[in-house]
């Protein structure tokens, strides 16, 4: 073969190849490539799908465990957040109570108050006592009055280092000198085993009405004067008796006391030396 023919053959081959490439780049051979590539793609898809299915079969268990773990963590977080919500709601309620007590304390600047939380009740169901979490370490002494922003609660009956027992005004052993407003009638308030309170020794000629206010009178030196106690809800008057009596609705809800104020600068008086001895 002569060099000329060889060269000519090479040139023609190159032109044909370049022509095919240009035509292919121009998309003129797409119908051919589709016909060839399509089955290959189908085969690849089929193989890939099966491979993924087998892979999921073996790794699915791991995914389920991971999802369970994540679910458990989220449930724990939800529980924790719900507990936080409950705590915050309790704190909010406490803030409201303390705010009301603070307003009450600011309204009577002459007294010194110490806030205390109610932590228990006396085990004897016939007695009305509560236990607070302040004691001698905080300066509390026996006889100090205990109030809330609404009115009188009771008096400190016993104290230890960091707790005190408060005798409520609803206790059957309680007797408090009170005054009925607006008539300024004096009476004695006493409690009962059921926690109800009533007035006794109201003079027969005293004019009292329903919804009259009951306040401490300060007589006897056991309590400061003018502390709100409650309102008259019923009057019992019989001409054959020496005195009238009345039932009282206390202004403080004794079933729901949570925080109280102890009046620190009030010292109860002991007037027993002034009481004359009984004559023989």
């Amino acid at each position: 073969m002569t060099p000329t023919i060889t060269l000519l053959r090479k040139i023609v081959t190159s032109v044909v190849i370049i022509g095919i490439i240009i035509l292919a780049a121009g998309g003129y051979f797409s119908f051919i490539s589709n016909k060839i590539v399509e089955p290959a793609i189908n085969l690849q898809t089929w193989i890939s799908t099966r491979y993924l299915a087998v892979k999921d079969l073996f790794s699915g268990q791991k995914d389920v465990e991971m999802l369970r773990q994540t679910n458990l963590e989220l449930e724990n977080e939800v529980t924790s957040l719900q507990n936080n919500i409950i705590d915050l709601k309790n704190q909010l309620a406490e803030v409201h109570i303390l705010s009301a007590l603070l307003n009450f304390a600011r309204g009577k600047p002459g007294n010194q108050y110490l806030a205390a939380t109610v932590i228990g009740k006396d085990p004897n169901p016939f007695m009305q006592y509560i236990i607070i979490d302040r004691g001698t370490d905080d300066g509390i002494q026996t006889g100090m009055p205990v109030v809330t922003q609404k009115g009188l609660v009771g008096r400190i009956n016993a104290v230890i280092a960091n707790a005190s027992r408060v005798q409520l005004i609803t206790d059957p052993n309680t007797d408090i000198n009170v005054v009925i407003k607006p008539s300024n009638t004096e009476a004695i308030l006493s409690g009962s085993i059921t926690g109800n309170i009533g007035l006794d020794f109201i003079p027969q000629d005293a004019i009292i009405q329903l919804n009259n206010l009951i306040l401490t009178s300060g007589l006897g030196g056991g309590y400061p004067e003018d502390i709100m106690i409650g309102q008259i809800t019923g009057i019992h008057k019989k001409d054959v008796e020496l005195f009238q009596s009345a039932t009282v609705q206390p202004i403080v809800d004794f079933n729901n006391i949570k925080i109280v104020l102890v009046i620190m600068n009030f010292k109860p008086l002991d007037i027993t030396p002034l009481i004359p001895p009984e004559l023989p």
Binding site: I119, K121, D122, N124, M127, Y129, Q167, I193, T194
Partner: protein, 166 residues
């Protein structure tokens, strides 16, 4: 060991009684956890240190409660004595003994408290006390005595393990 166990058990019982049980009222009555603990402990057939527990409960009651003349504490001693008597009489009828001890124990405890209050000058109307306080307290005690007996029994079984006969 059994005597030392009384301190944490009765101490925790008192804390629960003051802070939790006394807040749960039926009419004006409430359960008495210390009474139930003492009855359950006393009725267990292998328990030996019964009076030590009763004395500790009595001392704690006198210290904690405002009951006049220590009436609540003294009632625990009397109730323990009655329970020991019931245990010796009805030792084969365990369920009946538990219920009778609880009923009688509640009644004795309340009688002592009423007498203590009366001697200190308080006016206690007996019909109101019975209907509003004693009967509801009895009901609550009967409700709680069975689970408490199971609990204290387990404790007693652990404290006094059964001796194996060879």
């Amino acid at each position: 060991m059994a005597v030392f166990l009384a301190f944490p058990i009765l101490g925790f019982g008192w804390i629960l009684q003051l802070s939790l049980i006394r807040q749960i009222n039926l009419l004006h009555g409430s359960a008495d956890l210390i009474l139930l603990i003492l009855i359950s402990w006393t009725l267990h057939h292998r328990v030996k240190h019964v009076w030590q527990w009763a004395i500790l409960a009595c001392v704690l009651a006198i210290y904690i409660s405002a009951s006049p003349f220590g009436s609540l504490g003294l009632s625990y001693l009397v109730i323990t004595g009655c329970t020991v008597f019931f245990r010796s009489r009805f030792w084969k009828l365990e369920a009946v003994t538990i219920l009778i001890s609880t009923l009688v124990g509640t009644f004795i405890s309340h009688i002592f408290m009423i007498l203590g209050q009366s001697f200190s000058g308080a006016n206690i109307p007996l019909d109101t006390a019975l209907i509003q306080i004693t009967l509801p307290s009895m009901f609550l005690n009967l409700l709680l005595v069975i689970p408490f007996y199971a609990l204290i029994s387990s404790l007693a079984d652990w404290t006094y393990p059964q001796e194996l006969g060879i």
